[in-house]
Amino acid sequence: MESLDQDLKSFTLTQDQFVGYDNQGWLSLEEPEGIPVPRNLRRIADDPNKMSTEHFILNLGPCHPSTHGVLREVVELDGENIKSSEAHVGYLHRGIEKLCENSPWTHLAPYMDRADYAGGIYSETALAHAVEELGEIEVPDRAHWLRALMGEVNRMASHFLWLGPLGLDSGAMAPFLYMIWDRETLLEVLESVTGGRLMFNYVRPGGVLNDITPDAEAKLRKWLDIADDRMQEHWDVLMASELFQQRVKGIGVVSHEMAMSMGATGFVGRASGIDWDLRRDRPYGPYSQLDFNVATATEGDIWARIMVRYDEMLNSINIMRQLLDGMPEGPHMAKMPRVLRLPKGEAYGLVEGCRGEIGAHIYSDGGTTPYRVRYRPPIQYHLAIADTVLPGQMLADAIVSLASFDFCFGEVDR
C-alpha cells in the first residue's frame, strides 16, 4: 500500500502527474511504441499548444456520484470539451470466477448475485441454464415461470434505479423520489419471495428456492393495478419535460456499425438498430408462450436508449400480468441429487438480463465443482462504447452519457 503514501492532493487536483493510488502506472505518459493509438485512447492531445485553453486532465471518479459505482473515467479537457477519455476499472475485483472453481455446483448463485448486484436474478438464471444444459436436468414448468416472474420484477426494479438517477444526473431531482417508491414496492415483493432485497440466492440449478406466497402475489397485483398510471406519471414528471429532452436528444450517439463491432447487446444494441432480444429470438422458459413487443430505435442517442427502455418497462408490466395469470401448478424444484456431479464438457447458458446478454460459460471435468466459470459481462462491452463516444462531448453531457449506459461495476470487475 505504499501508493497511499503519496500526496493525495494530486488525486483531487487535476494534474497529469497523478499515477493512481493503486500504483498501476496507468497514467504514465509514454505510449506504446510502434502501435497506432486510436484517438479515444490517446493520453495527450496531438499538440497541447494548439488547445484553446490550458491542457487539463480530470479524473471523474472513482467516487463521483455520476459513475454509479466505482469507475474512474480519466478525461482530457480543452475548456469544457472532452478530447479523450479512458475508463479505469478494477476497484471491485473480488475474484468471483476463481472462487466459483472451489464451490459445489449448487452453491454458485451467491457469487452470481454479487457479479451483477442490481439484477441478480438474471445472473443466477444464466448460470442455472448452463448447469441444466450440461447436466440435462429437467426443470418443472412452474420453476421456469417463477424465474421469469421474479426476473421481470427485478428488471423493473433495476430500470427504476437507472431512470431515476439519470434524471438526477441531468438536473432533475424529483423524478428520482417518485421512482424509488416503485422500486421499494418491487423490492418488498422480491424480499417476501426470495428473502433478500439485493442478494437473492433464489435461482438454483433444478428450480427455485421458494414458491411465491399469496401475500407477495397480492402485493404485486396491487402494484400492477396502478403500474400503468405510475409509468404515465414518470413520463410526465421526467421525460415530458422539454428541458430534459434537450439534455438527452442527439447526445452520446452510438452508430449501428459501432454497436455491431463493439458487441452491444440489450438496450444499447436495440437503441442503435440491432433488432435482437433473447427473450424473443432464443426463447427460454415461458417466453415463447407470452405476448410482448421488442422496441427498437435507430438514432442511438440517449433519448433512444430511454425510449427503448421505457417501452421495455411497459412490456415488463404486461409480461408480469401474463405470468401471474398463467402460472402453471406443480413443484417449484426438480428432484436433485444431494451432490451434483456434471459430466465432462462445456456448456453456455444465456439470458436477456437487465443490461444485455448475460452468459455463463462453464467447463466441467466431471467433478462436484466447476473447472472454470466464465461470466459474460454485457457492461464491459458497453464501457468500451461509452469510452468511444465521450470525446467530442461537453463535460456536463458526458455525465448524462455515462449514466445512460446503466453501468454496474460488480459485473465488469467480478
Partner: protein, 163 residues
C-alpha cells in the same frame, strides 16, 4: 437456423483458411479449432463470409493444464471466441491453444469489441498482449500474479496461516 458443419466448412474453404478441426459439440454447437497463426484469417473469413458472423459476443480463456484426461501441459491456455450471426440466428465458437506465458496477438482490427476483454484475458492468464492499442492490465495491479491459472492457490499462504 441450425448451423451445420458443411456450412462452416464451405465458408472456410472459400476463404482458403486452414483449420485443425470443425466439430459439433453436444452443448455448444459448432466449435472450430485452429492454430494461433490462423485465428485472424478464420475470424475474418467468418465475419465477411456468407454466414455473416458480425458480432463477437465474448472472448475468454481457460487453463486446461489439469483438465482430466484432456490435460495438456504443452499448450494449456485455451482461448475461445464466441461469434454470432444475427442474419442467420446462429452461434459459432473458435478455439485456439497457447502455452504458458505465450504471446497473444490481438484481433482488435477485426472485432473492436475485444478492447477490454483481451486485456483481462492476458492479465488473468499471464499472456503477452501484442498489437493491442492499449496493452495494460485492466482489473488487477502488477502485484497480482495470474489469478485464473490452476497453479495459483485460492488461499494464499498468509490466509492459511491465519486460519
Amino acid at each position: 437456423m441450425k448451423l451445420e458443419k458443411t456450412h462452416v466448412n464451405s465458408v472456410l474453404d472459400a476463404a482458403h483458411v486452414s483449420v485443425k478441426s470443425v466439430n459439433e459439440d453436444a452443448h455448444l454447437g459448432i466449435v472450430i479449432r485452429v492454430e494461433p497463426d490462423d485465428v485472424r484469417a478464420t475470424l475474418s473469413a467468418l465475419r465477411d463470409g456468407e454466414l455473416k458472423f458480425e458480432m463477437l459476443i465474448d472472448t475468454f480463456g481457460a487453463d486446461l493444464s489439469v483438465y482430466g484426461d484432456d490435460a495438456d501441459t504443452e499448450t494449456p491456455i485455451e482461448v475461445t471466441y464466441h461469434l454470432r450471426s444475427f442474419v442467420n440466428d446462429c452461434d459459432v465458437r473458435v478455439k485456439m491453444r497457447l502455452p504458458f506465458e505465450g504471446v497473444y496477438h490481438s484481433v482488435i482490427d477485426i472485432f473492436t469489441s475485444v478492447l477490454l476483454p483481451e486485456r483481462e484475458l492476458c492479465e488473468m492468464f499471464g499472456l503477452y498482449l501484442e498489437d493491442h492499442p492499449n496493452p495494460k492490465r485492466l482489473i488487477t495491479n502488477p502485484k497480482f500474479t495470474t489469478p485464473l491459472l490452476k497453479s495459483v492457490p485460492i488461499r494464499g499462504k498468509e490466509e492459511v496461516w491465519n486460519r
